[in-house]
C-alpha cells in the first residue's frame, strides 16, 4: 500500500468551490465518530415497522385476531376518546407515574447527597440501597400488597422504589467520581463548604443524576404497567386487562401504543433537559 494520496486539504470535490460562502458552509465530521446526525433518524425504524405491520395486515399475513390492523387501532382509539374512557384511564395512569416519579427522584437524590457527602451517611445508606438494587421492585410486590393493600398507595410506592434506586445509584456515582483535582482546586481558592457543594459537587454530579433520571423514567413506566394489572379500577393497564377478558386485541394495542408514546416521550423530555443542562460537555454524539 504505497499509493500516493493528496493531503486531505488538497482534495477538491466538484461542489467545494472556492467562494468563501461555500467554505463557511462546510462542516466536517469526526472521522472516528458515528457520522453526521440523520434528520428524523428516530422515525425511520418506526416507520419501517408500521409499513411491515400494515402490509402484513392487508395481505392477511397477520391474522387480525392475533394483532389488529393499524387502522383498526386508530379507529378504536378514536372511539375510546369519543366516549371518554381513554382520557380517564390515561389521567389516572399519568398521575400514578408522575407521583411515583416525583417522590422517587426526591428520595433518590436526597439519599445520594447524604451518602455522597458524608462517610457516615454512606455507611448507613449505601449498603441497604445496593441490596435493594439487587431485589427487583416487582419482587417486593407481594410484601407491599400485604402492607399497603391493593389500593393507590401500594402502586405509588412500588413506582417510587423503582425510581429512587437508579436515581440514587447514578447520582451517588457521579458524586464519588468527581475528579479529586477539583477538590484540591476548591481548597486553594478557599471555597466554603456550601460553595464547594453548589459550585463543584452538584454540577459535577449532574451528568450522573440525569443519566439516573433516564433510567428512572423507564422504571416508572415499567412499574406502572405491572401494578396496573393488579386489581385496578382505572388506568391504562386496567383498560388493557379488561380488553383481554373480552379478547379485544385492538384495545390492548391502543394501550401498548400509549405506553410506548408515554415512555418514549418522557425519555425524550429528559434527553432534552440533559442536552440543555450539559451544554458544556463535548461528547462523541455532538
Amino acid at each position: 500500500m504505497s499509493t500516493l494520496t493528496l493531503p486531505r486539504a488538497l482534495h477538491t470535490g466538484p461542489h467545494s468551490g472556492t467562494g468563501t460562502a461555500a467554505a463557511a458552509r462546510r462542516r466536517t465530521t469526526r472521522r472516528l465518530g458515528p457520522g453526521r446526525p440523520i434528520r428524523g433518524s428516530a422515525a425511520i425504524g418506526l416507520l419501517t415497522l408500521l409499513v411491515v405491520w400494515s402490509v402484513g395486515s392487508l395481505t392477511g399475513f397477520i391474522d387480525t385476531r392475533t394483532l389488529s390492523a393499524p387502522w383498526t387501532v386508530v379507529t378504536t382509539a378514536g372511539d375510546l376518546i369519543a366516549d371518554g374512557r381513554l382520557q380517564t384511564n390515561l389521567a389516572v395512569s399519568a398521575q400514578r407515574a408522575f407521583l411515583g416519579l416525583l417522590i422517587g427522584i426526591a428520595v433518590g437524590t436526597a439519599l445520594a447527597l447524604v451518602s455522597g457527602l458524608s462517610r457516615i451517611g454512606e455507611a448507613f445508606i449505601d449498603g441497604p440501597v445496593q441490596v435493594k438494587r439487587a431485589i427487583p421492585s416487582l419482587a417486593l410486590l407481594p410484601l407491599l400488597i400485604l402492607w399497603l393493600g391493593i389500593g393507590e398507595p401500594m402502586k405509588v410506592v412500588t413506582i417510587t422504589l423503582g425510581v429512587a434506586v437508579p436515581v440514587y445509584i447514578h447520582t451517588h456515582n457521579g458524586l464519588r467520581t468527581i475528579d479529586a483535582r477539583y477538590v484540591e482546586l476548591a481548597e486553594t481558592v478557599g471555597l466554603s463548604r456550601w460553595g464547594f457543594v453548589t459550585r463543584v459537587i452538584l454540577p459535577g454530579a449532574l451528568p450522573g443524576f440525569l443519566l439516573g433520571l433516564r433510567f428512572a423514567v423507564t422504571a416508572a413506566w415499567l412499574s406502572l404497567v405491572v401494578v396496573e394489572q393488579i386489581n385496578g379500577t382505572a388506568g391504562i393497564g386496567y383498560m388493557m386487562e379488561l380488553a383481554r377478558t373480552y379478547g379485544q386485541t385492538e384495545i390492548i394495542v391502543v394501550g401498548l401504543v400509549l405506553y410506548g408514546v408515554l415512555g418514549y416521550g418522557s425519555d425524550a423530555v429528559v434527553r432534552l433537559v440533559q442536552r440543555r443542562a450539559l451544554s458544556w460537555r463535548r461528547t462523541l454524539a455532538d
Binding site: 483535582r181 477539583y182 484540591e184 482546586l185 476548591a186 481548597e187 486553594t188 481558592v189 478557599g190 471555597l191 466554603s192 460553595g195 459550585r199 463543584v200 454540577p203 459535577g204 449532574l206 450539559l278 451544554s279 458544556w280 460537555r281 463535548r282
Partner: protein, 275 residues
C-alpha cells in the same frame, strides 16, 4: 498559627501584617523587602511514618526564604520533590508526614500544570470561583490576560494556552501575596510558552506577588526569575541570583554562564545542555 497534619507549624498571615509600611515604598529593592515566605528545615515523607522505616524522606530539611515581590524559580530533577515543596506551601499536603516550619502569607494562589478549570462553569465564573461580587474584577483580569470578550465561553472552547491564561487570571483576581506555580507552562507548545513568559512577567511586575515557580526548563527559570534555586537530594543545593540587565536573551553570554552553572548543578553534562 494553624493546625497542620504531620506536626508541622504553619503560620499564615503573620508576615503580611508587618508589611504595610514597605509595600508603599516603591524605591526599596527586593533585597531589603521583608520575607513573604519562610521555610525552615522542612522534612516531608510520603506514607505513614511508623510503617516506613526504610523509606527516605522526599525533603530532608529545606530552608528557603522568598521576599515580597521576589520571583524564585525552583529547578530539580524529576522526582526531586519540587511539587512536594510547593504543595507544602499551598497547604495541600494531606497525605504526608514531616516536620519543619512554613510561614506563608494570607493570600496564596496556585497555578497548576493543568489549567484545572471547572468544565461546567463559564470562563468568568471560573475566574471568580470562591469570590463574591468579583465579576468586574474578574473581567478586568481576563482582559489583562488577553481574553476580554470570552467571559461567557466554556473552558472546552478554549485552546490549551487560553485555558492556562484563564487559570492565571483566576489566581491573580485574588490579589495574591504569594503565587505558587507548578510547571504552569509544561503542557504548552514552545511558541505559546514564550508568549506566556512575557505575559507572566508583565503580570508579576504589575501585581508584585512573591512567586515560586516550579519548572524543569532551565531557560524558563533564568528568563523569569530573580533567583533560581536547585533542589537536589531533598535540600536546596544552589541559590543563584539572576543579575542580568534589561531583557533577557538566551544569546547573552551572562545567560549562557548561568545556564551552564544550573545544568552543572542538575548533573547534566555540558554538551547536552545546549539542546
Amino acid at each position: 498559627m494553624a493546625a497542620h497534619p504531620g506536626g508541622l507549624t504553619v503560620v499564615a498571615g503573620a508576615v503580611a501584617d508587618a508589611v504595610d509600611t514597605v509595600t508603599t515604598d516603591l524605591t526599596s529593592t527586593i533585597d531589603d523587602a521583608p520575607a513573604a515566605v519562610v521555610v525552615q528545615d522542612l522534612v516531608r515523607t510520603y506514607g505513614v511514618p511508623t510503617k516506613t522505616d526504610g523509606e527516605t524522606p522526599v525533603l530532608l530539611g529545606v530552608d528557603l526564604t522568598i521576599r515580597q515581590g521576589e520571583f524564585v524559580a525552583i529547578l530539580g530533577r524529576s522526582g526531586s520533590g519540587k511539587s512536594t515543596l510547593l504543595r507544602a506551601l499551598a497547604g495541600l499536603d494531606h497525605d504526608v508526614s514531616g516536620s519543619g516550619t512554613v510561614v506563608v502569607p494570607e493570600r496564596v494562589s496556585v497555578v497548576f500544570q493543568d489549567s484545572r478549570l471547572l468544565p461546567w462553569a463559564r470562563v468568568l465564573d471560573n475566574v471568580t470561583l470562591g469570590l463574591r461580587h468579583a465579576d468586574d474584577l474578574g473581567r478586568e483580569r481576563l482582559a489583562e490576560v488577553g481574553l476580554a470578550g470570552r467571559e461567557r465561553a466554556w473552558p472546552t472552547e478554549l485552546s490549551g494556552g487560553e485555558q492556562q491564561r484563564v487559570s492565571l487570571a483566576r489566581s491573580l483576581v485574588r490579589e495574591p501575596q504569594l503565587l505558587l506555580a507548578d510547571e504552569p507552562f509544561g503542557a504548552l507548545d514552545a511558541l505559546t510558552r514564550i508568549r506566556m513568559h512575557t505575559l507572566l512577567r508583565e503580570l508579576c511586575a504589575r501585581h508584585r506577588p512573591a512567586v515560586l515557580l516550579v519548572t524543569h526548563d532551565v531557560d524558563e527559570a533564568i528568563t523569569l526569575a530573580d533567583r533560581v534555586v536547585v533542589l537536589d537530594s531533598g535540600r536546596i543545593s544552589l541559590h543563584l541570583p539572576v543579575d542580568l540587565e534589561g531583557t533577557r536573551s538566551a544569546a547573552d553570554p551572562g545567560f549562557a554562564a548561568l545556564r551552564a552553572r544550573l545544568l552543572d548543578a542538575l548533573g547534566v553534562p555540558p554538551t547536552e545542555g545546549t539542546e
